[in-house]
């Protein structure tokens, strides 16, 4: 019965969504406070209903209720509880429900934390959010309903796809969706601004925390997905420029641009139209990503069973929202007044450069991702655009951006002093070059280009530190005073520095791993050894093992350095019994930021085993940098200035206190 109540809650959420898409908008147009007050209440009710439905589905998974088709399809009574729960979103229907849950969660958060927004703006934003909610609710209820039942119920489920039975993939989709869907708020704010026909610096201030939150989660989600692909697919690669990866990367690039342009708008009221356009584009790319992943129009290593008929529904949603938003933009944008002027060399100028490069790069990635699809539709020719294309185009385009990053925070608003910034950065640049060549020498050689690549990474790290250094004025003031100043800096300054530093660390990891990694494909028999990265691996043989829902053959390796055994690595091939599906579980051993990666291949006829061993120096820097960026995001998010737009008792009190002065 509880299942049916969950199903009903989802239907009621749709009914609420219909009301929510119309009433508050009418209220905002006619200045009717009661209708506008409907928006927050309705949004919260909708969230509660969807959360209840999601909870019911999770419960059905937890207790293995195979009378629910979706549970039967994707679960197994013997799976560990964590995968039973993560199985909820390890399939199409459930993951769309998670998408919806997060969408309504963001609406509810705008409703609750947006008390300081003007009533009309909040009502319009929540109505636009409700349009998206209604579209996805219809999609879920009509084409991907997770509450369909089986009667009679089978006795055992079909098991979850084994590659999804992994902790990384258990938390990857929620993070990614928090990012994807978070940009819906920016989209709704942009559409609301277009509907209201007015937009100003305060708008940017209100949008910024949502952008920042979405960006932070998306960063985490992408990093998690990349790490998952690295250790679970057993190929040792961490980024494949695969359509599904690109689908999550494009909103990230556009979102990064949005983050920076909203800054310009907040401070200087410039770039208004551009920011609105960027907000629409970012969420459009998120929708496009959902479409690409869910429809299976593009082949991808991450794509699981897909259904084209659903793709058509999502395509319709996509066309409606993207098309509608752009039509609205074309119609209303000319009425928006443009704002402040600035010199090309200024903080604004640097941020414009950032936006230019980021959007052009996004367009490049989009072209590479969609070109095969377009070409096939037009000419029937089948091509694949692979990593070499993206490495060449995206890689080259990023270089000027990376070089410009440290300049941004050092330039003043309106008119900046390029020479001054150069003076402040030349030490960082010199140190970076030295460090780059030093590392190249320490790793016993490599191309000079690699040293320059490493130097760019170091330069970003040192540049971010230099920014804090000069803000606190460490060189001129006594250490104690400077340190006090450092502590007094707004948190957003630390956020910026951390994000830029994290970017540097990631760049370092990427360049180092590409340049210095070594790969050994060897045949090994029991008792034989292989060398990688200065370590010796002794193959001790294979052992059979049985897991809860799989059997595996584990290869055991003893790792030693200089004749001393220091660690063990297990690498295995698993067979998941319910689906009779093999997977490879790589054995990974970390030494600092570097890793030894062992993956098993086929048995040879003479009893040997093909083993693939990689030495991946500094690989953890790639994801470590992403973690630092994420921390930067959260630190910025905690800056008190952003809470003026969001609720804060202090801001409210301040408002009350200031009112009589008006």
């Amino acid at each position: 019965m509880i299942i049916e109540i969950g199903h009903y809650a989802l239907v009621l959420a749709l009914a609420t969504g219909f009301l929510l898409s119309v009433l508050p908008l009418m209220g905002a147009r006619r200045g009717d406070a009661a209708l506008m007050a409907f928006a927050p209440v309705g949004s919260v009710v909708q969230f509660v209903l969807v959360a209840f439905a999601f909870g019911v589905l999770t419960w059905a998974y937890a207790v293995s209720d195979f009378s629910v088709l979706n549970v039967w399809d994707n679960s197994h009574s013997l799976m560990p509880m964590i995968y039973k729960v993560s199985g909820v979103w390890g399939n199409h229907e459930g993951s769309m429900l998670l998408w919806l849950l997060i969408l309504t969660l963001f609406s509810a958060m705008v409703a609750l934390f947006g008390r300081n927004l003007p009533d009309t703006l909040r009502a319009t934003v929540l109505s636009v959010q409700a349009w998206i909610t209604v579209a996805f609710l219809l999609f879920i209820l009509l084409t991907s309903n997770p509450f369909l039942r089986l009667d009679p119920a089978p006795a055992e489920g079909q098991d979850l796809n084994p590659v999804l039975q992994d902790f990384g993939l258990a938390i990857h989709p929620p993070l990614l969706y928090l990012g994807y869907v978070g940009f819906s708020v920016c989209f709704s704010f942009a559409v609301a601004a277009l509907i209201e026909g007015r937009i100003d610096a305060a708008w940017a201030r209100w949008v910024r925390p949502w952008t920042l939150a979405a960006w932070t989660f998306l960063t985490a989600g992408i990093a998690m997905g990349s790490y998952w692909a690295y250790y679970e697919l057993g190929w040792g690669g961490w980024w494949f420029w695969d359509p599904v990866e690109n689908a999550s990367f494009m909103p990230w690039l556009a979102g990064t641009a949005l983050l920076h342009s909203a800054l310009v708008m907040e401070k200087r009221e410039a770039l208004k139209i551009w920011t609105v356009l960027l907000a629409i584009m970012t969420f459009s790319l998120s929708l496009l990503g959902t479409f690409l992943v869910r429809s299976g129009v593009l082949t991808s290593v991450h794509a699981f069973a897909t259904d084209p008929s659903r793709g058509i529904f999502i395509l319709a949603i996509l066309t409606f929202f993207i098309g509608g938003a752009f039509v609205l933009f074309a119609w209303r944008a000319p009425t928006l007044k443009s704002g402040g002027l600035f010199a090309p060399i200024s903080r604004e100028g640097a941020l414009v450069l950032n936006n230019l490069i980021l959007t052009v790069s996004t367009a490049t990635v989009l072209t590479g991702t969609l070109y095969p699809l377009v070409l096939e539709t037009l000419t029937g020719e089948k091509i694949s655009v692979g990593a070499p294309f993206f490495n060449l185009t995206f890689g080259l385009l990023m270089i000027p951006l990376l070089l410009a990053v440290p300049f941004g925070p050092l330039l003043a608003w309106k008119r900046g002093d390029l020479l001054g910034a150069l003076q402040r950065l030349y030490v960082a640049a010199g140190l970076a070059l030295a460090a780059g060549f030093g590392l190249l020498y320490a790793q016993s050689g490599g191309p000079v280009v690699a040293a320059l690549g490493l130097a760019i990474g170091f330069y970003l790290v040192f540049g971010a530190l230099a920014d804090l250094w000069y803000r606190a004025n460490f060189g001129k003031l006594s250490f104690k005073v400077a340190f006090a100043r450092l502590k007094g800096l707004p948190r957003s300054a630390f956020g910026t520095a951390l994000a830029h530093l994290g970017l540097g660390v990631t760049v370092l990891g990427i360049v180092a791993v590409t340049t210095f990694q070594t790969e050994h494909v060897v045949e090994m028999r029991q008792g034989e050894t292989a060398e990688a990265g200065g370590y010796t691996l002794l193959f001790d043989g294979m052992r059979e093992a049985v897991g809860p829902n799989f059997t595996e053959e584990r290869g055991h390796f003893t790792v030693s350095r200089g004749g001393v055994a220091i660690a063990d690595v297990w690498s295995s091939k698993r067979l998941y019994t319910a689906r009779r599906m093999p997977t490879t579980e790589a054995g990974i051993l970390s030494f600092g930021a570097s890793q030894l990666y062992v993956s098993l291949g086929d048995h040879m006829e003479d009893g040997g085993l093909v083993v693939r061993i990689w030495w991946k120096p500094f690989i953890l820097c790639i994801w470590g940098g992403a973690v630092i960026m994420m921390i930067g995001g959260f630190v910025s998010l905690s800056d008190r200035r952003l809470r003026v737009g969001a609720p804060s008792r202090r801001a409210k009190l301040a408002k009350v206190a200031l009112e009589p002065a008006e």
Partner: protein, 390 residues
């Protein structure tokens, strides 16, 4: 009934909460833009703070403050403009309409769509509760036995019980494992070995493999009266092309069989195939064919072995087509359907397998034992039963 009461309560509750903001007195829109002013004032404070810390210069701070000041002024202008307009009678009329739309929309959309999509009669069925009280649901009983064996994998009697059930459900991989476990734990017996052999034959599309032959030989060695094992052992000889030996073996079976045994006609048919004189009194082939429809007969099997892989594939496809045609005329044959679905899956033709599954389920609905066997087969072979079940 409880469900409907609960749904009604939830509907009423949701409607009430949604109407609540609409019923509160229509206060006029107050200061629309005070919140923006708060942002600008905060920006002013921020400039002051930065200036005090020496993060920006005097001139720069001046410019910034002037700019923010202009924004505040613009805001005040707009506010003055906005004062003129305000809601009147029109909005009050809308007030009566809005709650009405809630009262209509929520129950109407909710119930209509739910009646269209939902299954109000189905209770929740957590697996634990179902296992505790399985009734005579075969699949559940099997699942229960499986769980018991997962906990106590050394219970030979359990495997013994489960193995033939797996075989009948055409879960051949599981059946093989169960027979092997039973043999490992309880020792070899003629029955177990014959069962294992038969499973192996079934999973190899009727061909008696080396492994299977070995099992049958052991079974016969343990119990010379095991006719099933002897039959397959003879079939192995026949498939190996040792016609004379095969004929002698079949004749021996016939001799040892009690009169009126079910297999007599089948054995006699094989004797004929191997050049002997079939038992005159034996009923004719159709009875045998009925017993195992679609099973390739020995001649076909033998012919197949001399074909190239491609021709063999074609021949199998041909036999499958014949079976499909026969089932079209006489669909009341569950073994036939099972075999057809399996064959299509072996041929790699998923679409046809799925069609056959659907056709079979028409005659044997999923809620009957036979239909469940079809579903179990579909599951085992990885065929999606989507669209077949409600």
């Amino acid at each position: 009934m409880t469900l409907w009461i609960l749904l009604a309560v939830i509907t009423a509750g949701v409607s009430a909460v949604l109407i609540w903001p609409l019923m509160t007195s229509a206060r006029p829109v107050e200061e629309l833009r005070e919140d923006e002013a708060a942002v600008y004032r905060d920006q002013l404070r921020e400039v002051d703070r930065d200036r005090a810390q020496g993060l920006i210069g005097v001139e720069e701070a001046g410019y910034a403050k002037a700019e923010i000041g202009r924004r505040l002024l613009a805001l005040a202008d707009k506010r003055a403009d906005a004062k003129g307009t305000g809601g009147g009678a029109a909005s009050r009329a809308r007030h009566r309409l809005a709650p009405l739309s809630v009262i209509l929309c929520v129950p109407l959309i909710g119930l209509c769509l739910y009646l269209f999509l939902g299954n109000p009669d189905l209770p929740a069925q957590p697996l634990e509760a179902r296992l505790a009280n399985p009734g005579n649901n075969m699949a559940l009983l099997v699942a229960k036995a499986e769980r018991h064996l997962a906990e106590k994998p050394d219970d030979g009697a359990g495997w013994d019980l489960l193995a033939p059930i797996y075989f009948r459900a055409m879960r051949l991989g599981d059946a093989e494992m169960a027979y092997r476990n039973a043999i490992r734990l309880n020792g070899e017996s003629s029955e177990r070995l014959a069962g294992l052999g038969e499973t192996l034959v079934a999973s190899n599309e009727g061909v008696v493999t080396e492994d299977a032959r070995h099992a049958f030989d052991r079974a016969v060695a343990l119990d010379g009266r095991n006719m099933r094992a002897r039959f397959y052992a003879a079939l192995a000889l026949e498939q190996a092309g040792r016609t004379d030996d095969a004929r002698r073996a079949f004749e021996a079976i016939l001799k040892d069989s009690p009169p009126g045994a079910a297999w007599i006609s089948l054995v006699s048919e094989h004797i004929g195939k191997n050049g002997g004189a079939p038992l005159a009194a034996a009923p004719t082939a159709p009875a045998a064919a009925q017993k195992a429809p679609g099973n390739p007969n020995a001649a076909q099997v033998e012919a197949m072995q001399q074909l190239s892989p491609q021709e063999r594939q074609q021949m199998i496809a041909g036999m499958v087509d014949t079976l499909a045609a026969r089932l079209r005329d006489d669909p009341d044959n569950i073994e036939g359907w099972l075999r057809l679905v399996r064959s299509y899956m072996v041929l790699g033709d998923k679409a046809k397998a799925s069609d056959a599954l659907k056709a079979g389920l028409k005659t044997f609905p999923a809620d009957q034992e036979a239909g469940r066997r079809l579903l179990a087969l579909a599951k085992e072979t990885g065929l999606s039963a989507e669209g077949v079940t409600p």
